[in-house]
Amino acid sequence: MSVVETKQVPRKIVIDPVTRVEGHGKVTIRLNDAGDVEDARFHVVEFRGFERFIQGRPYWEVPVIIQRLCGICPVSHHLAAAKAMDQIAGVDAITPTAEKLRRLMHYGQLLQSNALHIFHLSSPDLLFGFSAPVERRNIVAVLERYPEIGKWAIFIRKFGQEVIKATGGKKIHPTSAIPGGVNQNLDIESRDSLRKDVDQILSWCMQALERLKEAISEREAQHRDFAYFESSYMSLVRADGVMDLYDGVLRAIDSNGQIIFDGVAPSSYQDQLIEEVRSWTYMKFPHIRSLGREHGWYRVGPLAQINCAASIDTPLAEAERRIFMASGAGRPVHSTLAYHWARLICLIHSAEKIREFLFDDDLQGTDLLVNGTTRRGVGISCIEAPRGTLIHHYEVDGNDQVTRANLIVSTTSNNEALNRAVRSVARDYLSGHDITEALLNHVEVAIRAYDPCLSCATHALGQMPLVVTVEDAQGAVLAQRTKQ
């Protein structure tokens, strides 16, 4: 249900510090004196509060505590924190068993999170087209017409959760990654149980990609042009440029695919990235230092993960990557909706990596933990979370307590891109001052491509409405509409 409210008396918007952090998504469209769209902003969550929350904690607690940041991708935070705390503990390299166990857990997380996004969140838009009536564009309608998608959604996600449980001890918030390694290996019973299902899971992932490609071909222009803009991209890659979503070096490319920086160790991220503060939001805007604030913004997430990688080391995903990149005709693929295609390739890659690790005997090893020799004061790590590059940066004092934490989450990196996507939609679909159902729907479709982490770590009762506001050049509210 949507609530339409047209303000007769102009007034300024006051953004409450609580509601801007969570409670609802907020989009503001600013018109110029001629009545055209001047700017559009999507207000997203910030994490300063959580960073304060972990100050004073013993460093070894952080990999578990940090998961309270997000109920959807806790494993990414768990592993990023563990990798940073390896450094604090003075461990330069963990054992092969520990490394592979963490990787397996990570791919379980990528699998279940990407599956949730594709099947539950985005499939209605992709399969029905987002001009379809909203009452038909929901997961229930999808399941009525494509019942197999419901099966894929539930069971791929459940499989990913089982991988996390087998490697992390718990399905939702694992505890196995600790500074210097892990505290358990993969037991034979769990391994064999997962082995029985993994080929079926991979097959469903492939079928899902084929279904998406059919949907794209039916609405090719819409898929290509919707909320289109070009950008730079950043992702972790292996030192040789091959996709690596768990560890590696940072690579950034420009809109033509030319390298901006490459081979950057996560510990040197501040040499390349700078976080800018803007007056209208608590959120920081990271950008590439050498390009400056106007031109240095970039996108992260599946589209960046595919655009930045020279290749993928699993055969099915690599074959699909080549098809995907061919659609860009030698340049990066820039379409906003291509995020979904890229996400499915990452889903397939994750399933392939899981299968690879399930047949690797190293995961039954007993060499789980390395004890460091020299405690360090700083730990910095990067990991490719489902929504993109995640950076954890900690400082720890001589009493083993965290004194400072800085997290750059993927939604933060995509902040400028989200604004541009919303602006593009507003320019194409806003007519006069009216916030039509079509505009509201298209704004949502653009936001969904990035799946911003708005409500991370809290879930008070009720849905999260999306509030879209149109303002005049002086900031007076002309119209406001809420999608419940």
């Binding site: 998504g25 936001i447 911003p452 809290t458 008070a460 009762l461």
Partner: protein, 158 residues
Amino acid sequence: MSEAISREPPKQLLLGYGNPGRRDDGLGPAAAARIAQMEWSGVAVVDPYQLSIEDALDITAHDIIWFVDATRTGPEPFELRRLAAKETIEFDSHNLDPATLLALAMLYFGRAPEAWLLGVRGYEFDFSEGLSQRARANLDLAVALLAHNISERMGTPR
């Protein structure tokens, strides 16, 4: 011919969800912990941070579902209401309404059990651990009601 009535008590599931790292957002897990301590046979208790689509599997394996969540507005000390399945679409994947979860259970597995939502009023949602004093008082009353309703149903044939 009338269908035979099972004499087994109904299988009940309590989903107390929320984040204990956000003060009163932990009301759901706190209620779950209190009910779990009662160690009732036939009553399963889980305490996820957030609901997710695979919870539909657990839901269809039970006869009565008790969702327990924190509320930031609304009646004190709590509000209990019967839930009906509802279809929605969100703009991010970090929210799943319990009514939507029921709709998914019905669609995926052809069964949406009787479900109730207990919204316990909270007041403080900042980054910290521990319930506020007022939330703790509301929790006591909410758990008393839950315990009464759950135990009453334990004697009810399916």
